[in-house]
Symmetry: D2
Subunit: 356 residues, 4 copies
Amino acid sequence: MLGDVTNPTGKSFGSDNHAGAHPAVLAALAAANTGDVIAYGDDDLSRRAEAMLCSASGAAQALLVFNGTAANVTGLSLLLRPFEAVICAETSHLNVDECGAAERILGSKLLAVPTPDGKLTPDLIARRLGGRGDEHRAQARVVQLAQLTEVGTCYSLPELRAIRDFCRENGLLIYIDGARLANALAQLGCPLTDLAACADVLSFGGTKNGALGVEAILIMTGSLAATALFQRKQLMQLSSKMRFLSAQIVGLLEDDVWLKNAEQANAMARRLATAISGLPGVRLAFPMEGNGVFAEMDQELARALQPHWRFHVWSASGNGRCVVRLMTAFDTTEADVDALVGAIRERVIHVKQPAS
Amino acid sequence: MLGDVTNPTGKSFGSDNHAGAHPAVLAALAAANTGDVIAYGDDDLSRRAEAMLCSASGAAQALLVFNGTAANVTGLSLLLRPFEAVICAETSHLNVDECGAAERILGSKLLAVPTPDGKLTPDLIARRLGGRGDEHRAQARVVQLAQLTEVGTCYSLPELRAIRDFCRENGLLIYIDGARLANALAQLGCPLTDLAACADVLSFGGTKNGALGVEAILIMTGSLAATALFQRKQLMQLSSKMRFLSAQIVGLLEDDVWLKNAEQANAMARRLATAISGLPGVRLAFPMEGNGVFAEMDQELARALQPHWRFHVWSASGNGRCVVRLMTAFDTTEADVDALVGAIRERVIHVKQPAS
Amino acid sequence: MLGDVTNPTGKSFGSDNHAGAHPAVLAALAAANTGDVIAYGDDDLSRRAEAMLCSASGAAQALLVFNGTAANVTGLSLLLRPFEAVICAETSHLNVDECGAAERILGSKLLAVPTPDGKLTPDLIARRLGGRGDEHRAQARVVQLAQLTEVGTCYSLPELRAIRDFCRENGLLIYIDGARLANALAQLGCPLTDLAACADVLSFGGTKNGALGVEAILIMTGSLAATALFQRKQLMQLSSKMRFLSAQIVGLLEDDVWLKNAEQANAMARRLATAISGLPGVRLAFPMEGNGVFAEMDQELARALQPHWRFHVWSASGNGRCVVRLMTAFDTTEADVDALVGAIRERVIHVKQPAS
Amino acid sequence: MLGDVTNPTGKSFGSDNHAGAHPAVLAALAAANTGDVIAYGDDDLSRRAEAMLCSASGAAQALLVFNGTAANVTGLSLLLRPFEAVICAETSHLNVDECGAAERILGSKLLAVPTPDGKLTPDLIARRLGGRGDEHRAQARVVQLAQLTEVGTCYSLPELRAIRDFCRENGLLIYIDGARLANALAQLGCPLTDLAACADVLSFGGTKNGALGVEAILIMTGSLAATALFQRKQLMQLSSKMRFLSAQIVGLLEDDVWLKNAEQANAMARRLATAISGLPGVRLAFPMEGNGVFAEMDQELARALQPHWRFHVWSASGNGRCVVRLMTAFDTTEADVDALVGAIRERVIHVKQPAS
């Protein structure tokens, strides 16, 4: 457990993965542990989890896998042949944080696009469409979006629909990395079906939102589902005691735990962003549109706080300043936020205003 | 839950994966769910799980992954370049039941060897060593054993050491698929270190022995560990909330739960094998050396029992007979076994001996 | 150059690859070397070569690649996803002699079948069809045949058509490795269209039949051609100065040089087989149905001849005997054959019949 | 053959691949076509070619392959594991023009770096070194340079040595794509050994410099050679009739044909660059340092000339202007250059200066 005299509540702002599991998830796990069931998903609980996911999203098929990297790679495997390429944001998790899994497992090239805010647009996508039909070039086939993006921004529905329309006109498929899909939905206030309708395949993240470890791949187009079971197994993502992945999904979806979790995380991020964005020497590096606050501050300040709140220093800004990433989770409380805000405020005033 | 009037206890003999989780594992999970910890294994519980595994086995490093296929492929990835090949039993899980994961992920050829009982020997290995040094041939580099084997047999320590010596003399490395390693140790009555010393890398199965889903890769040679973290991540096996994999390992290793689980499963298989091998028209297809009973019987009998006890029909034997696989688990009871034995005995006598 | 007092003509029987290029091929190369042309196949000579191949075979598209391994792997790439498997003869070049290229490049499992004579049959194929639809198994999708086979045998048209019908009924595609397709046609006396109609994709070998180094992939089904140009390029088989591959094809196809070459090689193999199969202590290990003679003889005899005629010792037969592979080429002459026959006859009589 | 009334000599400036083969290469091919030799490189001519390459470069081993993409991928395969990444210029052939072969075949990520002139520097390389040791990131391991670069520029020896020193200090290996290595040497006037000493592995291009189609991989570090033969075969680059690749190398290296070819091509590019860089409305987009002239001109002018001189329009510059790539080859003559210069001059004056 993190904890420190300086951080009175001990809550980490390092990652939504630093949080544990929601009690409803643990309760569902325990409830699933009764007697024998067939392995590999041929059990009632797994059928129920899949039905709940398909019903909530409009998907033709829902497949559970172990983690987010696997969801991305397995999901993309349904859409790509090795000579086809993926257009993605340069900052995307797929491109930066998955140790080259996509290249190794899929054999496909990632066509990374610099973006101002982690979000692709039809214009940015169009810049990567050169060389289609030219056998010397990897052929752009899939546009990969993350919702939320890696820098905490959230595509609006009109933005997503504009991309979807552009992709359809240009023979491109869409994959959405939904590791923080719940936070996006809480931000947009729209049903999952609206979001899912903008993708051919998308992932539905459980791990960062209160599960122990489970992600779902939602396949919106039935014809893409034919190979999915084989791809999942060959990509080492088929759980034998599937009921324990399924139970986590059921625990999250029942009583809208997943949405409430996301709303709580987002509310706490909003509280945090609101409180610190007015402080001297602190500004938001990206719009706060989910459960991540990207704040620019003095490196000296970041260094003083970091050991206690465990956040990531995202990038250096020059001039002795840096951007830090402050993530909230389903179990972040107002007290947790206020403690961090207090520490920043105290030091900002202390550091910045000796002359006043 | 499986259950049927004909199967009074409802216990499946289909797979050790049909069983749920041991209470100690669930308790460890719940205990791990307190407060925030750093993700990806940089937490005390994960360090403790790794230390326990290394201490029990003599391994230089222990890595947790999600399932058995992943353990095999990730473990082998530490030992192979793509032009190098794996000698394995034709019946091995790696060769038959992993949807070609090894070929896809590693790019390596499997050199499968027919065996009488699922076990390789120096002689059988030697038959696959042709063409070494010939650039036209995939180069044999790793011998893959399973302990227990896929047909329930168990290598003795002398057998393993003979293979190890042969491999060292011939420039071959050894990987052991230990999905049922605990059952093998319970059978052999030797410490894990003795078994592990026969391998360069091996897996340590948790899932089939009372976990929800976790396997460990034990790396016996320190120099092989350098790339392991990267391979695990790139192969989509790095858990973000690692503590929940680690807790399962700790739950199994504390108080020797893992060994007691395996001993119980093995004792129940022994009880089953002993009871049915003397029945008319029933014989063991392979020596019973762990928690699996492979019994040959009339297909008609198998068909009558199968819907109630959910076992796999392993193979057809001709003449209207077949081999069925009957697996016990950590939670199989004497009553479970006796119910199955009773059903077989009743039908064998009914079916076979009307004329007497 | 091979040569020896003991081998008066210096001709190797080691491989049809030991022969050089046919004069017509070299002449076509020289003729192609006039002025500038667009690279990568967008030139008149390349269009002519493709048109000749399509016309002769009925193919929808013909792609030139550098060697036989590449033709096999690139050809198969048009038919397979990584979780799909290839049924092939255990002795096939694809399985034995390509250093695991198929596994590495395609990610697919090869389901190798023992055969008595290198030839698959519907029955042999059917034995490898277990587990279709089961996500744990690599899914059989392509049957790979070689015509000629690796042991010199030749499928008859009825045999091929029976396999084709079986495959169509069972959702399997057919790839034919035609490294020695010309020799098969010379043996069967049928047009290429008859043979090609039994495949979805096949290779057309030039290298072993008088070219310097070129193979064609013939794509019989137009819809499979869509990805072929990209697969060829990504698999490193697109020649920039394509005219020099195309010229070799034109040199072979004009005036039926390719068929005449194959007829000459086959005639010389027939002459050799006829002459030695009647000698004491020599027998044919496989039917002679092309340009390869597989002869069983005493190892002592094989060892005496081998340094001079450079043939491969194919396998040991026990009892001090072995099978040797004696290959003829387009430029093997009657004098070459008679010299080898004479050397065998002399030693057989000398070695075998001192007592007479 | 290209040709047009407007292009009096018919010479293409589209690519050094539009040229045919040098007579010395064809003569060497014909000379190699005498009698039988062992296949796959075990022949005297192949040994001679390898010895000549090693002697000229200081390499421990030299391997012939079919084309430039294969040389790059096979060469890199000696240096990389799949989780390791390649730092390369964004404009590099490896990144842009090889249809994603590196990603598919090696499984490795390319870390592409924008450059002003196609050349990497220690500073540019250092920007891509973030995340080393972090299991979430593909690990930078190889720096890939092209000499000449894809935009025709040439690293000086001091530039290369600075990169080499930086790489050694930072645990990075160097691969040089030498598709136009001869042109670089002709530009630098230094021996091949000086250049080769800056790499761990490099390719030596034959195809663009008068061969029909052959590239060599030069392995500077003996320990890297151990796996090379297997990698070449598995990557489908082992020629059976190797003598015909080797003959091309011998034909180029004997009498320094390769250097004379490169000097001629470079001299013609210099003549072209000098003549047109002074014309109104024409300027060089990159320094002319080999056999490629990248000239910016009006799109209208480019469009008028392109069908006759077959050059590539490299990029659009805005304002109705574009950059065209004009390549010379070993057989480009002064008359060829002067004809193109004349056509440009005439149109530049005609188009640009009606008002004068």
